[in-house]
Homo-oligomer: 382 residues x 2
């Protein structure tokens, strides 16, 4: 039977039928009141999600385009920025900053470590850097970096802070305004469970001030063009938007908020706990610092004698369940289970069953049903 594969990777995430229907529905023309209403609703909902009064701009691009927009709009060639690197996406932010000829001072951690705000504080003091570029959820390791504390030391040093919360916004507590984040970048295909192709950025007043003098070249990702077009009596995008994806995102945001602002986030915490207990009940070890905070994605050490890449390949081939492999130095050594987005309890169970069956087929000794039982324990406690 040819069934769609079940994605349990950390993005794209499972897309609800409401989103598919919305993006398969007739286009709203992008000039005029229909699209203006759509853009306003989506923008206002994103502000709620970001917990911000700041401007939010939306690009037709992947999340990486959003990251690049922060580098291009905030800085000038030669500006010093501090970039903690503890995984693949830390490396990506550093690469983008180098591409724009910033003076990039990385703080290099073993992959799987959480960033220590004291390291950022010290490096800011040593370098007088103008900015900090960091992830909240380092998707490659699942680790949540302490953005609130990092933002505080950045502010104290008079530096701007840009946060890649692509795989965390909506899944993990994030407070744009309360924490003082200057540019918070996220995307459509993660906790919101819309489809990929939209990136958004929440931009603080300090970021707008920096934008005025930043010399890095930009056009498509120029925040100010989006702000100007949004300020029209019927809000617009400066360039033809990905209208269908916007229609899908509107449907996704309505679903996300249907039970109130915090319910979806609590669901992420619960599902994360169920996955982690299930995995531990199979005798597997979680990977990375503070896994209890990793509500978006769970990184698991491949057990002795089992190759993580092979496990991921078999699970997809035999069960149609897509987990994510380890990246970079973690290749083969870890695998990752995404549980952000439009999942509920039984979706998690299904994934744990596929994991059990796959491990068993690879000769790993386990007690059948152990992962599911442990997850049921979590759910029964609520």
């Amino acid at each position: 039977m040819d069934r769609p594969e079940i994605i349990m990777a950390p993005g794209p995430t499972p897309v609800p039928p409401e989103v598919y229907l919305a993006q398969g529905s007739p286009l709203v023309y992008h000039r005029g009141p229909g699209y203006g209403d759509l853009l306003r609703e989506v923008t206002e909902d994103l502000k709620r999600l970001y917990k911000t009064k700041n401007d939010v701009v939306i690009f037709a691009s992947s999340g990486t385009g959003g990251l690049e927009s922060a580098v291009a709009n905030l800085f000038s060639p030669g500006d010093t920025v501090v970039v903690p690197v503890a995984g693949f996406f830390g490396e990506r932010f550093a690469k983008i900053a180098r591409a724009y000829r910033l003076d990039v001072r990385t703080i290099d951690y073993e992959w799987g470590r959480a960033v220590d705000p004291a390291d950022v504080e010290k490096t800011l003091a040593d370098t007088g850097a103008r900015g900090v570029l960091v992830q909240q959820s380092e998707t490659s390791t699942g680790v949540i970096h302490p953005v609130e504390d990092i933002a505080r030391v950045a502010k104290q040093a008079g530096a701007l802070i840009a946060v890649d919360c692509v795989s965390s916004l909506g899944a993990v507590p994030f407070e744009t305004d309360a924490w003082g984040v200057d540019a918070a970048i996220s995307g459509s295909q993660k906790a919101l469970s819309a489809t990929p192709g939209l990136a958004f950025v929440a931009i603080s007043p300090a970021a707008w001030e920096a934008n005025e003098t930043a010399q890095n070249p930009r056009f498509y990702f120029d925040w100010s063009l989006y702000k100007t077009a949004y300020a029209l009596s019927s809000p617009e995008n400066p360039f033809t938007p990905a209208i269908s994806l916007m229609q899908g995102l509107r449907a996704a945001l309505r679903l996300y908020f249907q039970d109130g602002p915090d319910r979806a986030q609590r669901r992420h915490e619960l599902l994360s706990r169920a996955v982690k207990n299930g995995v531990r009940a199979l005798g597997l070890d979680l990977f990375g610092d503070h896994p209890e905070l990793a509500w978006a994605v769970t990184a698991v050490r491949a057990p002795e004698g089992i190759d993580g890449d092979e496990l991921v390949a078999r699970c997809r081939r035999d069960h149609g369940v897509i987990l994510a492999p380890g990246q970079g130095p973690l290749k083969g050594k870890v695998f990752r289970i995404g549980h952000l987005g439009y999942y509920d309890r039984l979706d998690i169970m299904r994934g744990l069953v596929a994991l059990e069956l796959t491990l068993e087929s690879m000769g790993y000794p386990l007690k059948r049903g152990a992962a599911v039982a442990a997850a049921e324990d979590v759910f029964s406690q609520g």
Copy 2:
């Protein structure tokens, strides 16, 4: 009755049900064989459309992102480029080049003129410029610039040529390899009638050579990252692609080519002729040089005493048919009828009827049915 509006603007264009269904269908995961097959099919079909053996890269962005990619990947700050400006999109290409601190030498035409290759030749000789940035279809005026001749003078001067064929590729004859175009940029929501959010670029060997030394900063739009990812055994995008839009684009390309490579283009010529004869039969004047070449969009002078913007607004309000207004200096003076994309004969008739009714309601004297009769004459001749 609440019906979807009928878009007769030059993009987005009418989206066939097959495209909506494809982009409302379950996501193909973007790593592995399913997406690899999709990306390969779309890329090969685009090469057919471009008439090229060159590499084609696809971005999740609007067409403007594709234009920016040409500026970022081909040039370095201070490089001189010649930019003929005869409308809104000529201005846009110049703005992008200035944003990247190129030395931009515009050739300024009255809006509505076609670029004269002799002017480009002279400016190249005077400046020793490294590149030419030009549109094929200047969407704001409907005018087709003579890309074949412009490319020849560029080659003779040793300059690169980047062509914005966003609103012309697939609607108007375009020969990437035969004409020697180094970067040809187009988008999903025009002649192909997929939805907006994808841009593509055909990149010549000379463009790749320039890419190696070009110093302009780039990351998300860095062509080489896309080339590397496409070369994997199962082709990928370097960043999470707009998967749903790619599924829609595949469906659109299959429809486009279903009657053979040139049939769709001949359809555009026929529909364009029908629109133009219909408009003339109402006593209206076409706007711009060589309207017989403007197979993508027809620009029409608003008649004496009729404001073009009001005409467009009434036609939308009263008939749900979206025409496009004049831009910049043409505001109020012209209106535009898009006939590129998934239109057939009766769709054109429907648009002409809406135009007749709207003009009549504004007090313009006309003979009812005149536009439709003139279009029928065109169709009867084939």
